[in-house]
């Protein structure tokens, strides 16, 4: 299939795996930032193609995983109200809040709908003027332009029964939080290709300089990831710390400027709490003052009471690359995708869910034949 098969070719993958093995002389720890990359790595077994000196750590780039409990509780609160149509991307529905989730609200009679685009939620608001239509606007810079567009359009058309519950997060502050932690193990990053498609990568250049860490903007297909790892290892081995662009078929240095303008128009940078990690300064987007009337938290006066995370869940450590999912005592026993303790077990992009889905028998799965050079075509 065009635009897919060429990035999944076994022979080319083997060539890259061999090239990585050739340039690697020491152990290196590399973090892939985006949950989509984590999913691809585990689904295609890309890490099993790498030399044993390379460890991949899974980063915080799973929007479902980092949305704080308080926001989920607010969503559940609003969605359960009688006159509300609550719209969300599909994978937010199963994420547990402190008491309930959106699926439960739906089964109790709440009007909770899965939409594929926030603009669809605006259309629902247009068609249901007697109802309050709320969209759960979460995600990284990738989803921000479409969410901004929805609010912008609602304002332009005067659709006053539409509002958004915003919990947007930004990648560079999270990377900086990881780099500045005393527990940090990350020596190089694969930056999130789709985030950079929107934002470009100039904002990563100061990070690479300040922390002397190579950052390779990387795509999501197996060959993208292998090439990203190759570029990152080469920089590490040569002692360079630059921002490189592996995903040049989608990413330009300056990014998508009309999209960025729309984000700046509708949103403003705010401090944001990350689930499992805590508050990171200037790490989120909230509605800018001219759009404050579309803030669902304000419209429905939901208070952001503090909610306690399940103490057994180590998702914060997993999201920061400090622990791997199988190091959690609850992994696969008390915590499974059907009964998740934390959000990293829920989303298909969450590291725990990816490991559970494809790897829960790690010792069995890591067969020698899958090691470098041993992979069959």
């Amino acid at each position: 299939m065009k635009y897919l098969d060429e990035y999944r070719d076994a022979a080319t993958a083997r060539t890259y795996a061999e090239a990585i093995a050739r340039v690697t002389t020491r152990p290196w720890t590399i973090m892939e930032v985006c949950g989509g990359q984590t999913h691809a790595i585990v689904r295609f077994g890309i890490d099993t193609l790498l030399p044993p000196q390379i460890s991949l750590l899974h980063g915080p780039g799973c929007p479902v995983c980092v949305t704080p409990l308080e926001v989920l509780d607010q969503a559940v609160d609003i969605a359960a109200r009688p006159n509300v149509i609550f719209c969300s991307f599909g994978d937010m529905l199963r994420v547990p809040g402190s008491q309930s989730d959106l699926f439960q609200v739906k089964s109790n009679g709440g009007d909770v709908r899965i939409v594929y685009s926030p603009v669809d939620a605006v259309q629902i608001a247009r068609e249901n003027p007697e109802k309050e239509v709320v969209f759960l606007a979460v995600g990284f810079e990738t989803t921000a332009p479409a969410n901004a567009m929805a609010v912008h359009r609602a304002k332009e058309e005067g659709i006053s029964n539409f509002s958004v519950l915003v919990s947007h997060v930004l990648v560079p502050p999270a990377m900086e939080a990881i780099l500045s932690s005393r527990h940090n193990r990350v020596q190089g990053f694969l930056a999130a290709g789709h985030v950079c498609t929107v934002m470009g990568y100039t904002e990563y250049e100061p990070l690479a300089r300040r922390y002397h860490v190579p950052i390779v903007v990387t795509g999501f297909e197996p060959l993208d990831i292998l090439q990203g790892v190759y570029l990152c290892v080469r920089q590490l081995e040569e002692g360079r710390a630059e921002v490189e662009n592996q995903y040049s078929r989608s990413v330009r240095r300056e990014g998508n400027q009309p999209a960025q303008e729309l984000i700046r128009e509708v949103f403003t940078v705010v401090p944001r709490k990350w689930r499992g990690i805590g508050e990171i300064p200037a790490s989120g987007l909230g509605l800018a003052p001219p759009y404050a009337a579309f803030d669902a938290a304000r419209r429905f006066q939901v208070d952001s009471h503090h909610a306690e995370e399940n103490p057994e869940c180590i998702s914060g450590l997993v999201l920061q690359g400090i622990k791997k999912p199988q190091e959690c005592p609850a992994f696969g026993t008390k915590c499974t995708p059907t009964h998740p303790l934390g959000a990293t077990m829920v989303s298909s992009e969450g590291a725990c869910a990816a490991y559970y889905k494809y790897r829960r028998n790690e010792t069995v799965e890591r067969s020698p034949s899958a090691a470098v050079g041993g992979a069959a075509p």
Partner: protein, 346 residues
Amino acid sequence: MIEDFVLQCPIPLDDNPTVQMGHGGGGRMTRDLIEKIFLPAFTNDLLAPLHDGAILPPVGGRLAFTTDSFVVRPIFFRGGDLGSLAVNGTVNDLAMCGARPLYLSAGFILEEGLPIKDLWRVVCSMADAASVAGVRVVTGDTKVVDKGHGDGIFINTAGVGVIETRLTIGPMSVRAGDAILLNGDIGRHGIAVMAEREGLEFESDISSDCAPLNGPVLALLDGGVEVHCLRDLTRGGLTSALIEISESANLPMRVEEESVSVQDGVRGACEILGLEPFSVANEGRFIAFVPAGEADTALRLLSSGAAVIGTVDPPGTQPPLVRVRTSLGTSRILDLPSGEQLPRIC
């Protein structure tokens, strides 16, 4: 196509354009519905007496008996509709027992306000599907629920079939070394229904694979293949079928990802929506477990889209796992989706 459908509804539309509570009341209106819709569509001598039940002639062999309920939204989708689904679903469950399907019952739960023309279309589609599969609808029932208490139309079908083979077909007969065969490409039904329901438009037309499977199954049995186990791929797709059989048979399995055919349109839709083609629903696909030495014969008896997709391994780890060898030559385990497959954020 909806536009191409020539409506020949025997009940004048201006008379009774929609289903009313009275149609389920057992009185004249119920009688009307039976005589003007169900009898003409399903006409056969076993149904004709309209007795409390159908009296069936004796059959020579063990019987297979199954039931299934059908609730699809929307009722009509590309490549099929609720009616063809309700017949093929039960026919296929019988076929998976190695049975030749003979008779079906049809129970309808209609929501007040359902357009009669939709009911007629569904019933005609059931009649067509029954005729293709060679089964007869011999008994039935209709109930009507208040508007808002149903989703247009729900159908339950039960089916009886005769088992003419001496083989015991089921997970208990699966053996290490068996070849796993799949009769065609996967994922079209799930994507076609989702596209219709969510108003998604794809460049390529994806239409449901909804089809009766008694033909190919009987071809295998009549061709002398020693079939060990059969399973149709419905909800949960290939993933659920493989894992269920692996667990019941207590044997691990290996599947080659590359040998499982997925249409480009389905692959594209799954990529965009973040779905796994292996776990998407089908309505005309099945897997067959046969001795490795008979795989070639079996493939010759099946349609050209059929392929050997994997093998059953000797007992090993507990619980037994189904492993997929990826296109990159690496391996991952196959896992059941935890609930509905959800389109992801980005």
